[in-house]
Amino acid sequence: MAIPAHKFERVERKVEQAETIRKPSISYWKDAWLRLRKNWLAMLGLGLIIFLVIMAIFGPVFSKYTYYQQDLGAGQNMEPSSEHWFGTDDLGRDVFVRTWEGARISLQIGFFAALIDLVVGVLYGGFSGYKGGRTDEVMMRIVDVLWGLPYLLVVILFLVVFEPGMWTIIMALSVTGWLNMARLVRGQVLQLKEQEYVMAAQTLGASTKRLLFKHLIPNTMGPILVMLTFTVPNAIFAEAFLSFLGLGVQAPVASWGTMINDALVVVLSEEWWRLFFPAFFLSLTLLAFNAFGDGLRDALDPKMRK
C-alpha cells in the first residue's frame, strides 16, 4: 500500500539548531549517581550508613537510661534483657545507650578522618605526582619526615598544648592520617600522567586543575575509595589509642574504640555483650562503607561509562 505523498510533511531545516544535541548532556557525577542507584549492594550499604547515622543521633532517646548513669551493685555486668537491651557494663551502665553514644563519637571521627584523607591526601599526592621533578621530591620528603617522626612524641606534645576532646583528636589524626593516601595517589598519578589521553589534554592546553580533577583523580578513584574504607576504622581505633593516652574524649563519654578496648577482657570472661555490640556495629559500619565504596567505585569508573 502506497502512502500518498501529501501525508508527508517536510521538516524545515533550521540552521540555528543544527549544532544542538537532543539528548540532555549528563555530567560525570550525575551519570555516576544514575549507575550507583541501580547497584543494589551499594544502595544497601548507603541505607545501612543512613540507619547508623540516625541511630547515632536518636538511638539514646529510645532508652530510659543515660550513658553515664551507673548502677553499682546488682546492676553490673548484666546480660542483655528486656530491661537492658544490650546488657550493662562493669559499672552498671546501659550498653545500648553507650553503643549509640559511642557511635556519635566514632562516626564523627571516621567522617573527619576520611575528609582529611580526601582533601589533604588526595590533593597533595595528586599535585606531587603530576608536577613531578623537584616539586615531587620536596613534597615526598616532607611526607617521609612526618612519617619518620615518633608519633607518640607528637601526641604527648598535643596533650600538653591542647585541651583533650574531639577537635584535639581530629588535629592529632590530621598530622599523619593522610600520608598513605598521598603516596598512593601520587603513585597512581605518576603512572597515569604518561598515558595518551593526558598528553592529549595537555596538548589541548588543559590547566593543571582541570587535568587533576577531570582526568587524573577520577581515574584513581578505585584505590582512593579502598584507602578511605581503611582510614575510617583506623581512625576509630586511633581514637581509642589517643583517648588511652589522655588526648581523647573523657570519661564517662564512650566511643566504640574505647568500649572495645575496655571490654577486651571478655575474651577470658563471660560478659560477651560488652565487646560484641560495639564490635558488631563497627563491623557493620565498615561492611556498609565497603559495599557502598565498591558500588561507588564502579559508578565513578570513567571506563564503565556508557
Binding site: 608536577k131 613531578g132 617521609d144 617522626l149 606534645l157 603513585g187 579502598v226 574504607t229 559495599a291 569508573d301
Partner: protein
C-alpha cells in the same frame, strides 16, 4: 639513572638529619625527663644521674654530642635499662621483629594479591562478596582482640600452637597470622580495585581478542599494570611491620623492637627514642626510595628523575 640515585642518596641523608633534629626538639619539649618519677629523687642524686647521661649540659651541646655519636653509629646506653646499649637492643631485637614481619608480609602480599584478583575476576558474584566480608573482618577486628582470641582457641583450648614465647617456628605462627590480617585485607581490596581498572582497558580487550590464553592475559598484561597501588602501599606497610608491632609483640611475648617505640617515649629514655627513631626513619626512607625505583621497573613510562611538568 645513577645520577638520580646519587642525588636521592644525598637527599635521603638530609631527610634523616631533619627527622633526627625534629625528634630531638620534640623529645625535649614534652614534659618529664628520664628521672621524673613518683618518688622524687633528692637533688644530689638527680644531679648525679643527669651528669651520668650528659643531661646536665646545655641542650645545644647535647644535640651536637648526639650528632657526633650518630655519625659513628654509637646510639648510647639505655637510661631505663642501663645494662644494655641501644645498639644491642636493636641488634638483638630487630631480627626477631623482622622474621615475624617477613612471615606476615609473605602471607599478606601473596594471599592478598591472589584474593584480590579472584575478587576482581568474579566481580559482583559470590567470591567477590566473600572476599569483601573477609576484608571487613580483617580491618574491623583489631589485632589486640585477634591475638587473645587466637591464644584462647588455638593455644589454650585446642592446643595447636604454643600460647606465647619465641624461639621455634611453631611459636611464630599465631603472631604472624594475627599481624598479617590487616595488610592482607588492604592488599586484597587494593588489588581488586586496580585490577578492575585494568580489566576495563582497551589493551586487555585487545589481548583477549587476539586469543591470548586468559592466564597469560592476567599475568603479563593485567597484574603488571594493576600492582602499582599495592607496591606503593608495601613500602610503608612493610617498614611498619618489619620494625615490629607493639601490640603483637606484647601479647605473644616476643623479644622484638616494637615495644621500644612506645616504651622509650613513655620512659623518656632519650637515647632509645633517638636510636629507634633513626633506625625506623632510615629504613622507611630507604624503602620509599626502593618503591620509587620499582615504579620505573614495573612501568617503564614512569620517569622520576625527569623535569617538572610545565
Amino acid at each position: 639513572m645513577l645520577r638520580y640515585i646519587g642525588k636521592r642518596f644525598v637527599i635521603m641523608l638530609a631527610t634523616l638529619w631533619l627527622i633526627a633534629s625534629l625528634t630531638f626538639v620534640l623529645m625535649h619539649s614534652i614534659p618529664g625527663d628520664p628521672f621524673t618519677s613518683e618518688k622524687k629523687f633528692p637533688k644530689a642524686t638527680l644531679e648525679n644521674l643527669k651528669k651520668e647521661y650528659n643531661l646536665d649540659k646545655p641542650i645545644p651541646v647535647q644535640y651536637l654530642l648526639y650528632l657526633k655519636n650518630l655519625a659513628t653509629f654509637d646510639l648510647g646506653i639505655s637510661i631505663k635499662t642501663p645494662t644494655r646499649t641501644v645498639n644491642e637492643m636493636i641488634e638483638d631485637g630487630f631480627p626477631n621483629s623482622a622474621q615475624l614481619g617477613v612471615q606476615a608480609l609473605a602471607i599478606a602480599v601473596s594471599a592478598g594479591i591472589l584474593m584480590g584478583m579472584v575478587a576482581a575476576i568474579y566481580q559482583s558474584r559470590m567470591p567477590d562478596y566473600i572476599m569483601m566480608v573477609l576484608a571487613v573482618i580483617g580491618i574491623s577486628v583489631p589485632n589486640f582482640v585477634l591475638g587473645p582470641l587466637f591464644q584462647k582457641y588455638l593455644g589454650l583450648e585446642w592446643e595447636i600452637f604454643p600460647i606465647a614465647g619465641w624461639g621455634d617456628f611453631e611459636q611464630s605462627v599465631m603472631p604472624s597470622i594475627a599481624l598479617a590480617f590487616l595488610p592482607l585485607a588492604l592488599v586484597t581490596r587494593l588489588m581488586r580495585s586496580s585490577m578492575l581498572d585494568v580489566l576495563g582497558q582497551d589493551y586487555i580487550r585487545t589481548a583477549r581478542a587476539k586469543g591470548l590464553p586468559p592466564f597469560r592475559v592476567l599475568s603479563r598484561h593485567s597484574l603488571r599494570n594493576a600492582i602499582i597501588p599495592v607496591v606503593t602501599i608495601i613500602g610503608p606497610l612493610s617498614i611498619g611491620i618489619l620494625t615490629g608491632s607493639f601490640v603483637i609483640e606484647k601479647i605473644f611475648s616476643i623479644p622484638g623492637i616494637g615495644k621500644y617505640f612506645v616504651e622509650s617515649v613513655t620512659n623518656r629514655d632519650y637515647s632509645v627514642i633517638m636510636g629507634v627513631t633513626i633506625f625506623y626513619a632510615g629504613l622507611l626512607i630507604f624503602m620509599n626510595f626502593l618503591v620509587d625505583l620499582a615504579y620505573g621497573l614495573i612501568d617503564p613510562r614512569i620517569k622520576l628523575g625527569s623535569k617538572e611538568a610545565r
